[in-house]
């Protein structure tokens, strides 16, 4: 959870910093390439995070969800 909490935000912040650094220019080719690759990876991470937020809509009564979880936990304990 903590890891999820920081993933998007951290990636986005780092990505912004990288873009700003590249835009300022004056970096060596090696460094530019390294930053570019990192930036492209971060971009993918961010985009994946957006997709990961899509999912089912479960609407359950309290008892039903309790029962469901109970059953699942019982199954996994066997």
């Amino acid at each position: 959870m903590t890891e999820n909490k920081t993933t998007y935000n951290e990636a986005a912040l780092r990505l912004e910093a990288i873009v700003a650094a590249l835009e300022r220019g004056g970096l060596g080719l090696d460094e530019t390439l390294k930053l570019y690759e990192e930036g492209a990876l971060l971009l993918k991470t961010c985009q994946a995070e957006l997709i990961a937020a899509e999912g089912r809509l479960n609407e359950l009564r309290l008892e039903d969800l309790e029962h469901e979880l109970q059953t699942q936990e019982a199954e996994s304990n066997q």
């Binding site: 492209a40 971009l43 990961a52 899509e54 999912g55 089912r56 479960n58 609407e59 359950l60 979880l69």
Partner: protein
């Protein structure tokens, strides 16, 4: 309004008239779910489960009815108890009586006791440092929201609508609970316990869904009593025990609830909770697209610049040897011409010298001497005679002149020593 039309056509049946009164009164918001304070009298519970009484004070009174199971009745309520009821006005058409339909009844002293309990709870939480604890920040993009609220409530519908506007198809689990009444606190606590379990990666994995990373617990507005569950210690403790951020989203404006004080995020309404915690997906996508473009552009520019430099270097490198050779050639030519010039000068100097020498030679050539009137003497065998002493009297010798030779003989000799 139909009633008025009937009046013009003839007298109205009294039943119709009372029904009209009932309808009119039930459309008046002032008379719906109103909080009213008074004293209980003629308290009577029937085997049917309904309870009838009169709510009164020194200035007025009104019949009241509590339908079976409609609300919890505090055991301390009896003849003469000061109570606050939440009730709506109704007309009992058969008898033409107006009466209060009670949805909630609390003795005033217990209400006071509840306020006191709330104050003490806040005090305790403050003392424990829970009010100043570091709040968890909701995830920027929640992957799995748990919503604890009344099943089928207007608040839930509002939340669904807002979520789908901002982030269509965002993953969420709604846990329907009672949000008011006797059982509300217990159900909310149980629901929070479920979200704790669903926040565990192992449980989430079994359910093939991401762990719950945000909990919204709330309901729409209501009377202070309706919202009271959110002031109770078990609910508050359950919020504090959450491993993931909890948003307290109870629709109310004035009173602060204890759940608001301890939650990670306090939202003024359920809708406000969504607005505060769910980003607008289209905006994020647009922003990422922009960053994508800027990243590409910036990198390309740097590489473009470098390539340009490389191209220009390459061009310079290609012509560099030629330039060197050309320079060498030029130097060589210059040297050559220098050399030539030097040689030339040398030659001309030599020529001049030679000419001088030739002139000198010319000047000392015997012929020149002879031309000037001198003669050269030679013995008969050709030896040049330079000294008189080398001759003997009677010796024959030759005299060479410019135009020919004469033969002569020595008649006498006079040397300078004599």
């Amino acid at each position: 309004m139909t009633g008025r039309a009937e009046v013009t056509t003839g007298p109205l049946a009294v039943g119709q008239f009372v029904s009209l009164v009932k309808r009119t009164l039930s459309h008046e918001p002032m008379f719906q779910r109103q909080s009213i304070k008074g004293e209980v009298s003629q308290w009577k519970s029937y085997p049917s489960g309904h309870t009838y009484f009169t709510l009164r004070d020194d200035d007025g009174q009104l019949s009241a009815v509590i339908w079976k199971g409609r609300c919890t009745i505090h055991p301390s309520i009896k003849e003469g108890t000061e109570v606050v009821v939440t009730a709506s006005l109704d007309v009992y058409v058969k008898r033409g009586n107006i009466q209060l339909i009670v949805e909630r009844i609390e003795p005033v002293n217990t209400l006071g006791a509840m306020e006191e309990a709330k104050r003490m709870l806040i005090e305790r939480l403050r003392h424990e440092g829970e009010l100043d604890r570091v709040r968890m920040r909701p995830p920027f993009v929640p992957k799995h929201i748990a919503i604890i609220t009344g099943a089928g409530s207007a608040a839930l519908a509002d939340m669904h609508r807002l979520i789908d506007n901002r982030w269509p198809g965002m993953r969420r689990t709604v846990i329907g609970v009672l949000v008011q009444g006797e059982r509300a606190p217990e159900e909310i606590v149980r629901a929070l316990a479920l979200t704790r379990r669903m926040a565990r990666p192992e449980t989430a994995e079994k359910r093939s869904e991401p762990p719950v990373d945000l909990v919204i617990v709330g309901r729409g507005g209501g009377s202070p009593e309706d919202l009271w569950a959110f002031n109770l210690e078990p609910v508050v403790r359950a919020i504090l025990a959450s491993p993931v951020p909890v948003v307290s989203a109870v629709g109310h404006e004035s009173d602060l609830l204890v759940s608001d004080l301890v939650a990670d995020v306090r939202a003024s309404t359920p809708s406000n909770a969504i607005e505060r915690c769910i980003p607008v997906r289209a905006e994020l996508e647009q922003w990422l697209d922009e960053l994508d473009h800027r990243l590409e552009h910036a990198a390309r520019r740097t590489f473009g610049d470098a390539r340009q430099r490389l191209v220009s270097l390459h061009a310079r490198l290609k012509v560099a040897p030629l330039a060197g050779i050309n320079a060498a050639k030029r130097t060589l030519l210059a040297q050559q011409s220098n050399l030539n010039r030097a040689t030339e000068q040398r030659f001309s100097r030599e020529r001049t010298r030679l000419a001088g020498l030739e002139a000198a030679l010319q000047a000392i050539h015997p012929r020149r001497v002879l031309e000037r009137g001198y003669a050269m003497t030679q013995t008969e065998d050709g030896t040049v005679i330079t000294k008189a002493g080398s001759l003997a009297v009677g010796q024959a010798f030759n005299l060479h002149f410019v135009d020919g030779t004469a033969e002569a003989a020595v008649t006498d000799i006079h040397t300078k020593e004599e």
